[in-house]
């Protein structure tokens, strides 16, 4: 252990004192950012894994799914729970979750809402999903909009047909009404001709009353006198009361004579006046009778006309009822068109974007990628550089003669790298805490994962270091490998743009795995049970790579030393030729 530390300490000293190594360590991250920046300027079509959630997978939903499948999207159906769909986005199984209503038919003045659930941290995918699926939904919305407009047009055509039909009936009604109107005008004219004016004779009926009163008064008076006479007769001593009776009877006689005069006289106040009056009345009645007869005839004629008119009016009413019924039908037809809102007709589907993680800045979303990116490149380059330094060091040859297991040298390089990476991680995470204070609790597990990732990348870099001869080629190979892992990670170009087989392979890219773990830890606060498989893969990678390096080291070490010696020998021989006096 002491000797391991000794080797590590030596490596650190050598690294610090070598300008080129220091340059690589400090400038590599800048180079990465440059590559990343240049690589982001791209656009492409994507094959996506799309989760579709619907309460019921109706014909509408399935039709929509089929249209998505036409674009080679892989569809995963979620029937039970929307949460499951959203969780799968977080776990990276699907790229987006689309919540679709079971029916896409627009039946009310309310657009259907389709909700996209996306992981905003996958910035390059978010826009692709929105654009690609948005286009698909827009197409569907356009179809629905056309359908709605077609419905309206159909109803308008139906209405037009019905209105045309009813229009004929209305014409008939109109004709009948005109005829009735003409008929009634004729009637009016005929009735206007009927003379129903009354005789204007002034009848002095007052005198008849006066006559009556006079006669009545006289008769009553006479009767009274009679009564008095009768009473006087009965009660009176006929002897003594003859005078009185006589007087009374005289009076009666007088009065009755007066009454007779009234009845038989020719004076205006007699019954003769009454006869005259009656004659006048009779004359008037005759005249009136004539008029009435004429009127009766006119009325009879009018009644006949009116009867015809009534028939026509009845027919008109029937026609109007038919028209009314037609209008009712039109109304019903128009009322059956529920969607009348122009906004809904023009945009029957509304897409809504829901983010599966809390709204954060882009720094949060990019943070896991940036971390892994820096660690990957620095570890790769450092691993290669350290091996190259050791391999190309003049002391490399001497190490062969040191009684030490070769694995110790490999481990010492790894440990050196780990220490430098640890310092980098502490610096990066420390600085990031100024911006991401809310994630302070996650920093420790993230640091552990970064160290694990660093181990994998260090071993990869070391492998390259052992495989390549010169510093330049080794570093170039490291950068190339790093770039390759980066491009195959979905950070620069979405993985969805590569073939499905290659996509499956890239899921085992250590960069992808590391980024995924940190992504889930940092953005979703995932617990260990969600990331342990990925962690296990990284550990597996580290062990396998370490064993491979040991194997490579064992196989090529002698070859390296021979190569090393041959090169130096050649140089010395060339110098010897120049020198004189030597063999």
């Amino acid at each position: 252990m002491k000797r391991l530390w000794l080797l590590t300490k030596k490596n650190l000293k050598l690294l610090i004192r070598s300008k080129s190594s220091a340059l690589i360590i400090f400038f590599a991250p800048l180079l990465i950012i440059l590559i990343l920046g240049l690589s982001y300027n791209t656009s492409s079509k994507y094959g996506l894994n799309i989760g579709v959630y619907s309460t019921s997978f109706t014909e509408d939903v399935n039709s929509f799914i089929s249209s998505l499948q036409e674009k080679e999207y892989k569809i995963v159906k979620y029937e039970t729970s929307l949460e499951e769909c959203v969780e799968d986005i977080k776990l990276g199984f699907i790229h987006t979750c689309v919540s679709i209503p079971e029916s896409l038919q627009i039946e009310e003045n309310k657009p259907k809402e389709i909700v996209f659930y996306i992981d905003p941290s996958k910035i390059n995918l978010v826009w692709a999903i929105q654009e690609d699926l948005g286009n698909k939904f827009n197409l569907k919305a356009q179809e629905l909009s056309q359908e709605l407009a077609q419905n309206i047009i159909t109803r308008l055509i139906e209405t037009k047909t019905k209105v045309s039909e009813r229009s004929a009936e209305l014409n008939s009604v109109k004709e009948k009404s005109v005829s009735a109107s003409t008929s009634t005008e004729t009637l009016t004219e005929n009735l206007g001709k009927v003379d129903l004016s009354m005789p204007t004779t002034a009848y002095d009926t007052a005198f008849v009353a006066g006559l009556k009163n006079n006669l009545s008064s006289e008769i009553e008076s006479g009767l009274s006198e009679v009564t008095a006479a009768i009473n006087a007769v009965e009660s009176a001593n006929i002897s003594s009361g003859k005078t009185q009776i006589k007087t009374a009877l005289n009076s009666i006689d007088e009065k009755l004579n007066l009454a007779l005069t009234l009845v038989q006289g020719n004076g205006t106040n007699s019954l003769e006046g009454v006869v005259t009056l009656i004659a006048s009345l009779e004359q008037d009645l005759t005249s009136t009778k004539t008029k009435l007869t004429s009127a009766s005839e006119a009325i009879s004629s009018t009644a006949t006309s009116l009867s015809a008119t009534t028939e026509m009016i009845k027919e008109s009413i029937a026609s109007l009822e038919s028209v009314q019924q037609g209008l009712e039908e039109i109304k019903t037809n128009l009322e059956s068109q529920k969607v009348t809102d122009a906004n809904v007709i023009s945009a029957p589907l509304i897409t809504k974007i829901e983010k599966v993680s809390p709204e954060k800045s882009y720094l949060n979303y990019m943070f896991p990628v940036l971390l892994v990116l820096v660690i990957m490149f620095s570890s790769l380059l450092l691993g290669t550089t350290l091996v190259m330094m050791e391999k190309n060091s003049p002391a490399f040859f001497r190490n062969y003669f040191v009684p030490l297991k070769k694995g110790m040298f490999v481990l010492s390089i790894y440990l050196t790298n780990l220490i430098i990476t640890l310092v980098q991680i502490i610096v990066i995470l420390g600085v990031s805490l100024f911006f991401l204070k809310e994630n302070v609790l996650m920093m420790f597990p993230i640091a552990l994962i970064l160290l694990l990732s660093s181990s994998v990348f260090t071993f990869l870099g070391m492998s390259l270091g052992y495989l390549f001869k010169s510093d330049e080629t080794g570093v170039l190979a490291s950068i190339s490998l790093g770039s390759f892992l980066l491009f195959m990670s979905g950070v620069v170009l979405p993985l969805e743009s590569v073939s499905p087989l290659l996509r499956k392979i890239t899921y085992f890219n250590p960069f992808v795995i590391s980024e995924k773990i940190i992504h889930e830890l940092f953005l979703f606060g995932a617990s260990f049970k969600f990331i342990w498989t990925d962690v296990a893969i990284l550990i597996g990678y580290s062990i396998v790579l370490f064993l491979i390096i040991l194997f490579i080291e064992r196989v090529i070490q002698k070859h390296l030393i021979e190569h090393f010696m041959t090169n130096l020998h050649q140089k010395h021989r060339q110098k010897d030729k120049i020198n004189k006096g030597h063999v």
Binding site: R398, N399, F401, H572, V583
Partner: protein
């Protein structure tokens, strides 16, 4: 005591045989110099000795522990790494670590106690004269100091055998000498050295044993004096400034007792008379003195390692 022994060792890379039937013993306290042309198989031989390469055929045995029977080096490599130090052709330390950090680092990798490392470190710093620079980054040291540091790194765990591949390459002559002196000093402290180098004159001075590798075979292997013997020259060569009197001097030289005198520009090859070599030399020196000739070099009959090496490598099969 044999620390390492190669028995009938061959090494092939595919169809290419780099070394064939190598038999070599490295005994405790030796300074073994391995020489050979480029591509002759020196480095392969060193790699076999250090256990970095396994022989295709044959055996590399070690007996670092006194009580132990010779054992296969390659099968016990992990156990014997503490006994072997290797300083490759290039410097093998961390340039961005200081002198002390490098030494401490490699010492600790060998699992030594800190006190032991510190003691070794102090001793090495003193011996290599790197002490004033122990806080300097290795890359800031001069070439010679870097090589000394490299050798020190190979010695920090006090190995029994130190194998060095071209330890003086890329160094100026002064530094080359310093390094070789340092290695000799280490050897005196009990470290067996195996040195492969192209600088034959240095090996000649420092090594007691020489191994010449030629075309994948060990053509010569043994104590320097033993391998020199067959190559003692029949002539000596003197390099003289003859000036304008060349003809006269040559005629004077013609009078000395010699089987043959060959004029090659400024160099005069003299094959002394087999009967009186001493007289020949005495007469030659007298002429030089009388004529006040300045001589640049005098190569006597004892062959240099370079001569031996050239004789071997230029020999036609």
């Amino acid at each position: 005591m044999k620390l390492i022994e190669l028995k009938e060792v061959s090494k092939r890379f595919g169809n290419n045989t780099v070394l064939e039937d190598v038999n070599l013993s490295i005994e405790e306290g030796d300074i073994v110099g391995i020489i050979g042309q480029s591509g002759s198989g020196k480095t392969t031989l060193l790699n076999l000795i250090t256990g970095f390469l396994e022989p295709t055929t044959g055996q590399v045995l070690h007996s670092f522990k006194v009580t132990q029977e010779p054992a296969d080096l390659n099968k016990n490599l992990d156990k014997i790494k503490d006994f072997i130090g290797f300083a490759p052709q290039h410097n093998s330390f961390y340039p961005k670590l200081t002198v002390a950090e490098n030494l401490l680092h490699f010492g600790q990798l060998y699992g030594l106690k800190r006190e032991t490392i510190v003691n070794n470190l102090k001793g090495l710093l003193k011996a290599t004269e790197l002490h004033p620079h122990y806080k300097k980054l290795a890359e800031q040291l001069s070439g010679g100091m870097q090589k000394r540091l490299d050798i020190s790194c190979s010695l920090i765990h006090k190995p029994k055998v130190l194998v060095l591949d071209e330890p003086t390459a890329d160094l100026d002559p002064k530094l080359q000498r310093e390094i070789m002196e340092f290695l000799q000093e280490i050897n005196k402290q009990g470290v067996t050295l195996v040195i492969a180098s192209h600088h034959l004159h240095l090996l000649e001075k420092a090594c007691n044993k020489i191994v010449i590798v030629h075309e994948g075979k060990l053509t010569t292997n043994g104590l320097l004096e033993d391998i020199r013997r067959p190559y003692v020259k029949k002539h000596f060569t003197i390099s003289l400034e003859l000036g304008t009197d060349k003809e006269r001097i040559l005629s004077m030289l013609g009078n000395i007792p010699a089987d043959r005198i060959i004029d090659q520009g400024n160099n005069i090859f003299v094959h002394p008379a087999k009967t009186d070599v001493v007289q020949t030399i005495a007469r030659l020196l007298k002429i030089i003195e009388e004529e006040n000739l300045s001589h640049r070099d005098l190569d006597l009959r004892k062959p240099s390692l370079s001569d031996i090496f050239e004789s071997i490598t230029l020999r036609k099969p």
